[in-house]
Symmetry: C2
Subunit: 285 residues, 2 copies
């Protein structure tokens, strides 16, 4: 089995041993409830690192009031099996008191400019929590590389910016979103969906596909692409749009024109019933 | 001569070489304009580390509007000589663009609870700048230990808190304030004082001595100790008090009663002419 450790001392000891024999250390930060998207991240990490650490920590500071912190799934035994099968040697599952020794309102990290738009506008404080906990995990594990999924597009961008700004010596890798056969992006929150909602939820991916096709076909007007996203999402009665945006893929600034040579990304967030889902697609000209 | 490097790559390369042969790495973060207090920190660091790095960076984000960022002294040649003489092998003097690759308003670190009181109340944003730049320096240099002076009492406390909260693998050491023969704490800003102001400035230390004597003699009332600080400071016409506080030495919470077994610190800030000076004393019962 993958070794399960809870303390900073234990994880550092295990890592020091691996590093002493020349192994590269990879980290896959997660909140547990692992699905095949996480499994892919772990396997990809294993291909690049001699020792893979998976962190499992449902981080309270990235949940807002009324969000699903309490009911967020925590199937630890199942998670451990998946980690093991995917090639992780170490699972770091700290307590909240370990991660936040002086409480959750002490030191925090904020990535100004990327934290208050899109997901950050919908979820105030979310990215402060994300940046803070990811930096802590980087400090604890001191990995050579860390892998994130593209499904959380803004998150991986924000972590890259944080790492560059703070000069954190960690390589950040991003891997493509893993999807169900019908296109739904894998998410730990998909399990909240009832069968009708599950069916309706595919509209996020369909909207992104429509937008991608339009851009591939020559559409350059940002507003027209946003309209395609909205109209497709609105075709499902169970879906309420949170945002549907076309933005610069590096800065997330909204785009009026999709100029040649500038990467654009379409990002959507919507409630399907009571479950909030996100998805995105980089738009290839 | 101590080697002068400007880039992250250069400093990391030099450090990797030293670490590969088993040397401990020590960091003394400074804004330059080095005085004998800094020299003592460097020498103390050299006693504990095989390689001492002194960083010299006048950090714009810790200065407020109207403060002395522009005229802050930058005597680099003199600084290099002092570093060399004190035993530093490496001087890291980065540009602002190196330290802040996405500008000074991108990622920042805040130590909530310790940032907005005392120095932080007088200098809004100061400690955000301090915490952010010190974390960056820790990430760039990855020292085993870093040394700070007690003169900036709140700063060293805040850095300790940040390091604990974020699990940064750096030992933080604090060294006693170095003083002129008449008691004035050494400071790069003392050079701003004219002869009369220089004379008057000794009142900060005298006020702290009076307070220390009162507490050593049995005084336990916080307000009485604050009054002693204020009355002594007010005895100098050239001095305008900014704050004169008696606080818990670990949390900086103001103290009403100096209970046995709880460490207290007296902290003063005052303008002497146009120059703002600070000093402090831990109060021994």
């Amino acid at each position: 089995m993958a070794e399960l450790v809870e303390s900073v001392q234990e994880v550092r000891r295990a890592i020091a041993t691996a590093r002493a024999i020349g192994k590269r250390i990879g980290l896959v930060p997660t909140m547990g409830a692992l699905h095949d998207g996480h499994v892919r991240l772990i396997a990809d990490c294993r291909a690049e690192a001699g020792l893979v650490v998976v962190s499992i920590f449902v981080n309270p500071t990235q949940f807002g009031p009324g969000e699903d912190f309490e009911r967020y799934p925590r199937p630890l035994d199942d998670d451990l099996e998946r980690c093991e099968a995917a090639g992780a040697a170490l699972v770091f599952a700290p307590t909240t008191a370990t991660v936040y020794p002086h409480g959750s309102r002490s030191t925090f990290v904020e990535v100004a400019g990327l934290s208050d738009i899109l997901e950050g506008a919908s979820r105030p404080g979310h990215f402060r929590g994300v940046a803070t906990v990811v930096l802590k995990l980087f400090e604890i594990v001191q990995p050579d590389l860390a892998i994130f999924g593209q499904k959380d597009y803004q998150q991986q961008l924000l972590i890259r910016r944080m790492v560059e700004d703070l000069h954190v010596p960690v390589e950040v890798h991003t891997r493509p979103t893993v999807r169900e056969p019908d296109g739904l992006a894998l998410s730990s929150r998909n399990r909240y969906l009832n069968p009708q909602e599950r069916q309706a939820a595919t509209v996020l991916h369909r909207a992104l596909e429509q937008a991608s096709r339009a851009v591939a076909g020559g559409e350059r007007r940002g507003d027209r692409v946003r309209q395609i996203l909205r109209e497709t999402l609105e075709s499902e009665q169970l879906v309420r749009i949170d945002y549907a945006e076309v933005a610069d893929a590096d800065t997330l600034a909204p785009l009026d024109d999709l100029e040649a040579g500038r990467r654009a990304v379409a990002l959507v967030a919507a409630r399907v019933g009571t479950t909030r889902l996100i998805d995105n697609a980089v738009l290839e000209e």
